[in-house]
Amino acid sequence: MKVTSRKDRFDAAGATAVFVSHDEPDAVRGLMLADVNCPFPVAIDREKTAYRDWGLRSLPLPMIWLDPKVWRQYAKLLSSGERMRSSGGDQRQMGGDFVVDRDGVVAYARPQRRDDRPPVGELLKVIEAL
């Protein structure tokens, strides 16, 4: 995750980050701690309470399986020798990025619609302008 390599810019702006995942802690631990050594808190929300509180929706299943990107990803994995397996998580759940200002007010909101996460540079520009 590119955000994790920009901690110096977060520090300079007086900012921090909180990542939230609804997945199994072991899966998240492998991704966020072992793989990218995340310097920010990584919260686990298995019940997806916070996802609901922040209005982040789940896509209908057909929208996932009719997405060519999903099939390209499977083809890439299979061609590299991976086997089809369930990762155990909810692949329909969308994410989102929000910047909260010093008074607890939302200064930037970008709920995910599909695979449309904002570039890290965009998030940093927002943070550095506040």
Binding site: I44, G55, S87, V100
Partner: protein
């Protein structure tokens, strides 16, 4: 279903356990800018 918060609205509550066994609370970070990033899927 709740709609995502809009710019200018108070941030919704966020209080959860972390991978390292602590708790993170957005209200406790008041006074700092905070990027809250909800991940889609770790798989």
């Amino acid at each position: 279903m709740t709609s995502p918060p809009q710019v200018g609205q108070p941030a919704p509550r966020l209080e959860l356990p972390t991978l390292t066994g602590e708790r993170v609370e957005l209200a406790g970070l008041r006074g700092r800018l905070v990027l809250v990033s909800f991940l889609r899927h770790a798989g």
